[in-house]
């Protein structure tokens, strides 16, 4: 860690005193990770960005009156979750109600896995590019091994090796984060 690193807690304190530079720092620090997290709840990139921007706007609006003494990142993620659920609720009202209830009980059950997920996303960000690419083509794009092998011009054996090495790296990374 460099010497110039300012803790979240210090940033929040400065924000409380209307320090716009600290506000910008906190924004830079959390914007993308909060978006990643909210995306996993809403599955829509634009909505995720709207929700996170909203969160930061509210934070600035209320800066003088808000006081956070617990861990700041925990607070941000929880607030983001709440806003995301509200967003979902307002959206779902246009569809039918029983569907919305299903969705909510589903959301409620996932609470414990969130810390894991947030940590995991940070770890995937830091994988070597090739490892990440293989993992994502399979997990997110839903491509078969053969398709990946053709696209990246590597053998199926290499793909498997890449996946194994990703798993090892992610496991170590998660352990370092205390998960």
């Amino acid at each position: 860690m460099s010497n110039t690193f300012t803790t979240d807690e210090k940033l929040i304190k400065a924000i409380g005193k209307s320090d716009y530079v600290s506000y910008n720092k906190l924004f830079e620090r959390y914007y993308a990770c909060l978006c990643q997290y909210v995306y996993s709840l809403l599955m829509d990139k634009d909505d995720a960005e709207d929700v996170v921007q909203d969160l930061f706007l509210t934070l600035w609006k209320n800066r003088e009156r808000i006081e956070i003494r617990e861990n700041v990142s925990g607070y941000l993620y929880r607030a983001a979750k709440h806003l995301a659920l509200n967003h979902l609720r307002s959206k779902v009202h246009f569809n039918n109600l029983s569907e919305s209830q299903d969705q909510f009980s589903y959301e409620d059950n996932r609470v414990e896995s969130e810390e894991f997920r947030i940590a995991l996303y940070g770890c995937i960000d830091h994988l070597p590019d090739r490892c990440r690419e293989v993992l994502l083509l399979h997990r997110i794009k839903g491509m078969k091994q053969k398709e990946i092998s053709e696209k990246l011009e590597i053998s199926v054996k290499t793909i498997k090796n890449q996946i194994w090495s990703s798993l090892q790296k992610l496991k170590r990374c998660l352990e370092l984060k205390g998960i």
């Binding site: 990139k45 706007l57 617990e70 997990r139 498997k160 194994w164």
Partner: protein, 327 residues
């Protein structure tokens, strides 16, 4: 080494082919049964595999662009805030001292807790909204304060509260308890409701929209069902259910004041809080004049204009001060 390599292939194959509905290979199953730590590692790989499904690269979010947007909106707000601040400088000393008295009288409730996590106030003339660390949402009406704390030992979410607020409490096994002045505690199970508990009012009123809450003061207890309204009398310590239209009690969320046979003195109390003004009433007038209906006006002068049309009163505005006399 040889065997280790072997197992790794089995694990990767399992993950890659899982969607095809293929079961666990006997070799893998044997390895899993061998050692607890094997099983643990395997479960972790599986979890990583499943959870990575909803990952998006952080690079996909342009925080620079987003900052420009947020910065632009904040810029607009800053100027309007500046404007508001200039106005509030003009607030008379009397109003300021009123606020201080209100704050002091509440020190008792608010300073006891040293482990307060989040605190939020809405001054007279302002409203605000806060998301508590547990995800609950509170909309605060003017002249209100909320302080949230969490006791990890007792696993209780505790809120010291005064004023009026609309609570949307998130569901959790951990109890959520609101403490108000006058000794009334409200126990909450994931729900939404309006709570009016101003220090200078003699009653506390709760209106339950959904879920379940319990009002408790000493031995007095009342469990409320959705749609019910209940009041707690600070003087007699009595809790009882009352009639009324539920949605009227949180009309303030839409800037509406519903009046059902409401004396002028009570109307004025609302206006003082909502608009941060001071109203002086000609003696005897406060209880004699009563209103029915709803007002929804932008400014306090509009409200006064509406009231003077409804009844025989005239009003005079001087800065933050309004005096009302009979016509």
């Amino acid at each position: 080494m040889e065997e280790q390599k072997h197992i790794k292939d089995y694990i990767v194959d399992y993950l890659l082919e899982e969607d095809a509905g293929k079961g666990v290979d006997p070799v893998l199953a044997e390895w899993l049964a061998e050692d607890e730590s094997n099983r643990k590692d395997f479960d972790l790989y599986k979890k990583i595999w499943e959870e990575s499904h909803l990952y998006t690269e952080s690079g996909a979010y342009d925080s620079g662009l987003a900052w420009e947007k947020v910065d632009a909106i904040n810029g607009q707000k800053k100027s309007s805030r500046q404007y508001l601040r200039n106005i509030s400088y003009a607030v008379s000393g009397a109003a300021a001292s009123l606020l201080i008295i209100l704050t002091l009288s509440f020190m008792g409730v608010f300073q006891k807790k040293s482990d307060v996590l989040v605190r939020m106030t809405a001054d007279y003339g302002n409203r605000s909204e806060i998301v508590l660390p547990d995800g609950s949402l509170v909309k605060l009406n003017s002249g209100s304060e909320v302080a949230y704390s969490y006791d990890p030992k007792k696993k209780i979410r505790e809120v010291a509260f005064q004023g009026e607020g609309f609570f949307d409490v998130s569901k959790s096994k951990e109890p959520f308890v609101i403490k108000t002045a006058g000794g009334l505690n409200v126990r909450v199970w994931g729900t939404s409701f309006n709570l009016q508990a101003y220090t200078d009012d003699s009653v506390v009123q709760a209106s339950l929209v959904e879920g379940c809450i319990e009002l408790e003061s000493g031995k007095e207890k009342l469990i409320m069902k959705p749609g019910e309204i209940a009041v707690f009398d600070k003087n007699t310590n009595e809790i009882k259910q009352v009639g009324g239209i539920l949605s009227h009690s949180y009309g303030w969320l839409d800037n509406k004041l519903y009046m059902e046979d409401m004396p002028l003195s009570v109307v004025c109390k609302y206006l003082e809080r909502w608009y941060d003004v001071e109203i002086t009433l000609q003696s005897g007038l406060g209880e004699d004049i009563r209103y029915n209906g709803v007002i929804q006006e932008e400014t306090v002068t509009d409200v006064m204009e509406a009231l003077s049309r409804l009844s025989h009163i005239s009003y005079h505005v001087k800065g933050k001060h309004i005096s009302i006399t009979s016509k």
